[in-house]
Amino acid sequence: MLRYGARRLFVGIVSLLIFTFVMFVLVEVLIPGDYVTPSRLFLTGQEIAELRAKLGLDRPLPVRYVLWLKALVTEGFGSTDIGTIGGDAEELASAAWASALVFVTSLGIAYLLGSWLGRVAAWRRRATGVGLSFLGVFTYTLFPPFVGFLLGVLLQDKLVVVRKALGAATVRGDERTALLATMSLTLLAASLVVGATARWVRRHTRFSFRASLAAVAVAAVAGGYWASVGALRSALDLLVVALVPTLAFVILAFGDFLLVMRTSMEGVLTQPYIQTARAKGLPPGRVRDRHAGPNAVPPVLARFVVGLPYLLAGLVIIESAVAWEGLGSLLFAAIDSQNMPLTMDILVLIGGFTLAVRLIAEVLQAALDPRIGRPA
């Protein structure tokens, strides 16, 4: 299995290289002008030429690609020549963690909500199922800026009041980035711990976790950690600020989970062991959540991996619509200032993240299914 993982990693890196090259060429060919173009009105012809030479923009396209790639590999994200003008590395780190926080929080909520509603949709009368599916479709296709606007109209005043009551000092710069990183990572770790615990409890006891209980447990574990490092107040303050993009993303993302879960669950419910469980007189909720639910999850996860680029696209759109300073806002700022290396870095970050998640999913699948990745 280790060899399979290594092979997939190699193939993945090759695709990532192809991806970066195609993106670089397309972005450069399709978008006219360069970093100097927007400020050409204020500069003389010679100054423009000097600036171009200094930034390496006068080199041919393949050379620029190699230089950009070299800087990315040796010095990390946001460290290209142009980056030295604006200090892109810090901005990129802060934006990436800001996106990560919204992504982790809202995806967790959307998954719990969507899969629960999907289970209910498959379990209840057909009319309820169809109704819930309609709800899923119509929230999924809502226009992101409109959702952000509505939430803003509804919540803005209340959020201000809550933030005043919290009274946390505003954190800025590196401190904010560090806090965002801590928060995203603790939330992720807490979900993994709670998920594993819930699985263990379901296997070994008669008790099973409800989605709401799991959410409360994750919040308690993460909040406990923040309190222990003395950052609870500022962490809560950041969460309040992030509430509008988070809620918007939940509204737009849960519908797809709901629809896939419903289809998958309907397949599971036709299995004979479900009939047996019901015939034994087990309470319906128990059959639904303990016997059928877990077996309906794999297709939902597979769909999550395939649909990841679209979820990320939704995040980019929402962030720039509600002015949350994440990767989405930074991406549009970078294109507006024709900062192509930074634009490329953000695209690579998105692509690399997708690739990493897919690799993990593939290796997990190979670990669970002995037929994959071994000679027949």
């Binding site: 193939v11 993945g12 090759v14 695709s15 990532l16 192809i18 991806f19 195609v22 993106m23 397309l26 972005v27 399709l30 978008i31 006219p32 002008g33 169809v130 599916s133 309609f134 479709v137 119509f138 999924y140 296709t141 809502l142 226009f143 992101p144 800026p145 409109f146 606007f149 109209v153 629809l259 896939v260 289809t263 397949g267 297709p299 597979a302 769909r303 395939v306 680029p309 679209y310 990320l312 696209a313 980019v316 759109i317 720039s320 619509a321 991406l331 549009f332 294109i335 507006d336 024709q338 634009t343 695209l347 998105i350 692509g351 690399g352 997708t354 690739l355």
Partner: protein, 295 residues
């Protein structure tokens, strides 16, 4: 004629299944509604809306203070800039249709072509095509078109084309390729080969018909993404010269900041139109998934 009739019958029964499944039935009616909307706008402009104040881009009614509530002259009222909202919403259906159709057929065409070529030829061609598809799969198509359209004013046609190419080469090609490999391993393909069918015959008459439902599914999903992305590109200020829903929403949200009240008549109709049109395509794909069990 003798070969056509069973095919038409099969098509008919497939259509009946789509119409009886509630999700896709709702989707089809929504799309028909928007088709009528796009068709009636030029007709209305040529008959009852001949006055220039019904122009969806430059119209202005001098006799009213704007924005105005619905009235007998303006059935949905006027927006902040004095344009007739109903006329704008109907006119916005046209670019949306262009984006939807172009994105749909380019996605399906490219995905079918790449998937069938890869699976049919195998070997090095397949390996190269697969790597290219893997690369494109890493990129969210909406993000890519938004990156391009932030600096280049893409017409609806070009927008659909770029979007369709990215989704078709990426996700579409990968899914169709794996399905094509599965179909090529079916017994009926061996039977056709033993009966003396050549490769081209097998691909055209046995492989492609079995790929069509899946291609349709992906093409409909691509339309949803393309419509939202196009709406957002317009929202960000691109393609604002044509009447479209994205810029209506932008105007509605922006001008809500002035004068303190939200112009709900233009805001809600435009978001409603965009979301329902996209939902129409998504509903049909959800219906196909329910009927065929494809994913």
């Amino acid at each position: 004629m003798r070969r056509l009739r069973p095919r038409l019958r099969r098509l008919g029964s497939g259509f009946r299944a789509l119409v009886t499944e509630p999700l896709s039935a709702a989707g089809i009616s929504l799309i028909v509604l928007f088709g009528l909307g796009a068709l009636t706008h030029p007709l209305l402009r040529a008959t009852v809306w001949r006055h220039n104040m019904y122009n969806p881009v430059t119209g202005f009614d001098l006799s009213l203070a704007h924005p105005s509530s619905p009235s007998s002259v303006h059935l949905l009222g006027t927006d902040v800039l004095g344009r007739d909202v109903l006329s704008m919403v109907l006119a916005g259906a046209r670019p949306a249709w262009v984006v939807a159709l172009v994105a749909a057929f380019v996605t399906a065409g490219v995905a079918l072509l790449v998937g069938v070529f890869g699976a049919g030829l195998g070997g090095k061609v397949d390996a190269v095509l697969s790597r290219v598809s893997d690369g494109f799969l890493l990129l969210p198509a909406p993000v890519f078109v938004l990156v391009i359209s932030e600096q280049v004013d893409l017409e609806p046609l070009a927008f659909g084309l770029v979007y369709g190419l990215v989704t078709g080469l990426g996700a579409g090609a990968i899914v169709l390729r794996s399905q094509a490999i599965k179909v090529m391993a079916e017994p009926f393909v061996d039977a056709a080969r033993v009966a003396g069918g050549r490769r081209a015959h097998i691909v055209v008459h046995h492989l492609i018909p079995h790929l069509i439902p899946l291609a349709a599914l992906y093409m409909l999903l691509a339309v949803v993404g393309a419509l939202v992305a196009y709406g957002f590109a317009a929202f960000l200020g691109q393609t604002a010269r044509t009447a479209n829903w994205g810029s209506m929403i932008y105007d509605g949200i922006t001008f809500a900041g002035y004068g303190g009240h939200v112009p709900w008549n233009s805001l809600l109709t435009a978001t409603g139109a965009l979301s329902l049109f996209a939902a129409g395509f998504y509903l049909i794909s959800a219906g196909i998934r329910e009927i065929t069990g494809l994913r």
